[in-house]
Symmetry: C2
Subunit: 607 residues, 2 copies
């Protein structure tokens, strides 16, 4: 086990080494913008998929919708720049909402984000495997399996630690940026030189019968999923090299410009080439094969898309453990999310995220389209809350607060608008969110209450009552009479003033019981062996009842009670599964009893 | 947990109550023949599926092949009657082969059967869900999910105990016998009164170009899968009411007659009505809808088929745990397979079987057709071995042994012939069997060797060296200084001559370390607190190293070493996941160290 872990996870790192793991702008763009940039892999498709439910002629509406998404992007970018400067220590929605709107809103943002990060992983890897199956039709039908494998690989990489991943991840991101830029340039040049005739399903502005505001808003809400991930940089300011806020803000601006260009460019090419969504090939893949032709460039493009989506999934792997660490530190999640693993990553968070994402992939059968509405609601609730929190933040600072707050006010209004749109037009897809989130909130509060109550109960009062016991009763559990018992009884004699041996006999084998009694008294003539009968084959029940009785008696005489469970330790670890099941169970159940100390004597086999 | 288990599994039963759980012939037919009888649900289809790879005209060959299967059935029935009389204590292939051919052959039979029972469950439930999806096309595509649910339900029923299941299971078996008899009678009557015109794809005897011996043998080998399950009764003789052997033999005869009639009848109707296998509807379902029409009788028939297949899967659930018990008793499988659960079932065997069957269902995507060849080889290897064993058995008895051995000799020859056919013509399907079986054999021998070696090492020599220790060193692990530590240190003082407290400090929080030192010395001024530093955040490593050092020192002075790990027990069990992860891990790793007793002090929270 330990050996396998070493190979997969790597050597433990010293705690002090944490400080070198800081990101340059160049590395940060790779590490933190992949989520946002990779959205272009499915953003246009999600808009068009809604429009074609009416007719393929309606695809021209994707152009004005893309412009609306662009406006949204600009306003969110401006408001997140504000957050970066106001919270250089990392202004995730949880922190900003908690500090400015109170714990309740903070936890709503936090629980939304926990779900959302799982969705980030699920959506990204499912879109990634769709990119793969678009290029290699033979793999179609295995998207779920491909996705699960990607998640597991990401999990292992993250258990190995942050910086190693980052340097590793820069290549795919810059590769994607390169080939996508090339795609748009080649696509536009071909149009300009007349090599790509106008092929759109309808002219811009053509009246389409049956177009409704509802349809356009649904389509817009799907398209807004492209903006998931713009918050990533503002959460991760502490990971930047100094000056942190400045570097982070510059990286955010760079990312938004690239994202805006890509998104609009692809939507335009998609319209011009008249591409209609197909079941087995993604829209982006169709665009690429139209522009490049089915050659090596196309394959490279699909590969880069799949890679950046995998990297985007990785964003979840840095954000989720960080958030669960913060929630655990505030006693809303179990303490184990605070433990750092051998490689400085928060291992439990990483594993929980991978597990959650895999469950989502199975439930939604790896369908990006079905995951997107949930993803959007999970993103825009914390968006809205952190923008509201920022408005409050400026307001508290007083002065000309309103000027500073303008980008955040606009951001908040737009986010609330999208939430309302999702609520009104996508309820059929997003309802599970409103079941899971309250449950998470309830659990958070229950855990919090529990931790507070435990801390209260454990706190030492100033006067401590020392207690001197008059002696010790030791109960040694005996199965068959073996070598193990010699050492166990020697030990029991050394700590105990009163040693009792105990054997549980099942009704099925009377002769064996007699045999054990005789053998025991032959070897240990001075120790009483109590034989307890069990009619239910259960060993644990009778042991617990008997020990409780002994302990009651012992307390009367101011004695302690120790139950000594002998076991033997085989020479190789795997052999342990062949033994000791019963003693494990006994120890487990006895550890719940009061006034009983359970001790474990190990006899080591040599062969 | 315990509460949920009570609801699902039921109240514990006393060991003595085991004896009432005996089967009458009527109940035994339901309990033990379902595996064999249910084979008619897929037997004909498996024959025809091979034939139509040539052409649909070849279907007429299913008639002579069915006759060959019938001959096989008769000979196996006769030879298993011999086994019942020779082994009234239950003559499974494992027992018969071990006793007559030696341990090696016994284990080959045993490991084949373990795999085979998993296949019984997998094949039966997958055929069952195909019966369901044939009748309800809306469910098509969800066979795996349906199968897994059936397996889980069966597992729970079996964890509840044998007899309850049996009475519950009689209805579906007799219901299936009733409706299938009706199907054949109605089908034949319709033919006789001319309502069902001859519709076969070709006349019997018509020459089909391209027919080869290989094809016919492949088809025959698939059809012989219908005979899986005829051994079930001979394994279960001890479960019968007295006179056991006689009742068992009568039940076996009854079962074989019913099976033979059904199998031939359905194959004939299938031929006459000219039914060709379809992807989404089973052959049997097509026969039923031709004979009955698509009415309530048809639905009832499909339902009865699905039900008896579920009951057939249940055969595996009585056979597998019994076999694994026998293998565990002979020290070839882990001892835990000998433990009876609260309801007298061998719970670990039941759970292992369910798990294995579910894995098979996922691997083979619930396809009966792909599971069948593996199933056949898994069945006929133990068939052949137990028949060979019987020949040897009679031979050892001497006298006119040859007369008694005749049915077994014929049975053995046929079984070997089928194995050779499978080997030559189905290798592409059955190769996994020849990988898994040797691995199982290897594991059996490894386990055996280990148990023997352990027993040897643990055996008490006659002279026992008692050892008197001079005193006890107790190391108390301290995290934060809390209420828990008061009780722990009081206890440590009572058993220890030398008490040391130990705290592991991580490098990240220096001020906390100072705080703990001060608080500890204020409350426990007379006890030394050793602070050990950890650069790797791991608590376990430093604790183990320090304790090893203490123990080495203690042994020099002839002292024992006890490590006391304090923990607090929360008021509700689920809360335990929020605490004590570290102390659990420390206890686990320390329990592997020699010369150290690990003791667990529990402080109970009241709220």
């Amino acid at each position: 086990m330990d050996y396998i872990k070493r190979i997969l996870v790597g050597k433990p790192l010293k705690s002090g080494t944490g400080d070198d793991h800081k990101l340059s702008k160049f590395a940060a763009l790779a590490m933190l913008s992949s989520d946002a940039l990779s959205s272009v892999a499915y953003g246009t498709e999600q808009i068009v998929l809604v429009l074609v439910t009416l007719s393929t002629a309606a695809i021209w509406y994707s152009l004005p919708i893309a412009l609306a998404v662009l406006v949204l992007l600009i306003s969110l970018t401006l408001s997140y720049r504000q957050i970066i400067h106001a919270y250089p220590q990392g202004g995730g929605a949880y922190v900003v909402s908690s500090q400015n709107l109170g714990k309740n809103f903070g936890l709503i943002a936090g629980s939304s984000l926990l779900i959302d990060y799982m969705l980030t992983v699920a959506v990204s890897v499912s879109a990634g495997s769709e990119a793969i199956t678009s290029a290699i039709p033979e793999l179609y039908g295995h998207q779920v399996a491909i996705s699960v494998i990607i998640v597991l690989v990401l999990m292992l990489m993250n258990l190995r630690g942050l910086r190693e991943s980052a340097s590793f991840l820069m290549f795919p991101v810059y590769c994607f940026i390169g080939v996508t830029a090339l795609l748009i340039v080649v696509g536009v040049v071909k149009i300009l030189i007349g090599q790509a005739p106008f092929h759109a399903t309808s002219a811009v502005g053509q009246a389409i019968p049956g177009v409704s505001v509802a349809l356009l808003l649904r389509s817009f809400s799907s398209g807004s999923a492209s903006l998931t991930g713009v918050e990533a940089i503002s959460n991760a300011v502490p990971f930047f090299k100094k000056p942190r806020a400045k570097n982070a803000a510059a990286t955010l601006a760079m990312m938004s410009i690239i994202l805006g260009c890509f998104f609009c460019g692809i939507t335009f090419l998609n319209y011009w080439y008249g591409i209609v969504p197909e079941e087995k090939v993604t829209v982006l893949s169709q665009v690429a094969s139209h522009v490049f032709g089915k050659n090596i460039l196309y394959i490279l493009f699909q590969f880069a898309t799949a890679m950046i989506l995998a990297v985007a999934a990785n964003t979840g792997f840095s954000a989720f453990p960080m958030l669960s660490f913060n929630l655990a530190k505030d006693k809303y999640m179990p303490h184990m999310y605070m433990e750092r693993g051998d490689r400085l990553g928060y291992s439990n968070g990483i594993i929980t995220l991978a597990f959650g994402a895999i469950v989502l992939l199975f439930i939604f059968q790896g369908s990006t389209e079905r995951l997107i509405p949930l993803y959007s609601i999970g993103v825009f609730i914390p968006f809205a809350l952190s923008q509201s929190g920022m408005v409050r933040h400026w307001n508290k600072q007083g002065g000309v607060w309103f000027v500073k707050a303008i980008p955040n006010i606009i951001g908040a209004i737009i986010s609330y608008a999208i939430i309302i749109i999702l609520f009104v037009f996508r309820m059929a897809d997003i309802w599970p969110f409103f079941i899971i989130m309250p449950i998470l909130l309830y659990v958070f509060y229950a855990i919090h209450k529990h931790y507070i109550s435990v801390a209260e109960q454990l706190r030492l009062r100033d006067e401590i009552q020392e207690h001197e016991f008059s002696g010790n009763t030791v109960v040694v559990l005996v199965g068959n009479v073996t070598q193990v018992d010699i050492g166990a009884i020697n030990y029991a004699r050394s700590i105990g003033d009163h040693v009792i041996a105990m054997h549980v006999a099942t009704d099925e084998n009377k002769s064996k019981e007699e045999e054990i009694k005789q053998e025991f008294s032959r070897h240990f003539p001075d120790i009483r062996l109590s034989v307890v009968h069990s009619s239910y084959r259960s060993i644990v029940g009778p042991v617990v009842r008997y020990v409780d009785l002994v302990s009651k008696n012992a307390r009367k005489h101011n004695f302690t009670t120790t139950v000594l469970v002998p076991q033997f330790v085989p020479n190789r670890r795997w052999q342990a599964v062949l033994h000791n099941q019963t003693s494990l169970r006994i120890r487990y159940y006895l550890s719940w009893r009061e006034h009983i100390v359970v001790a474990n004597y190990s006899y080591h086999l040599k062969k």
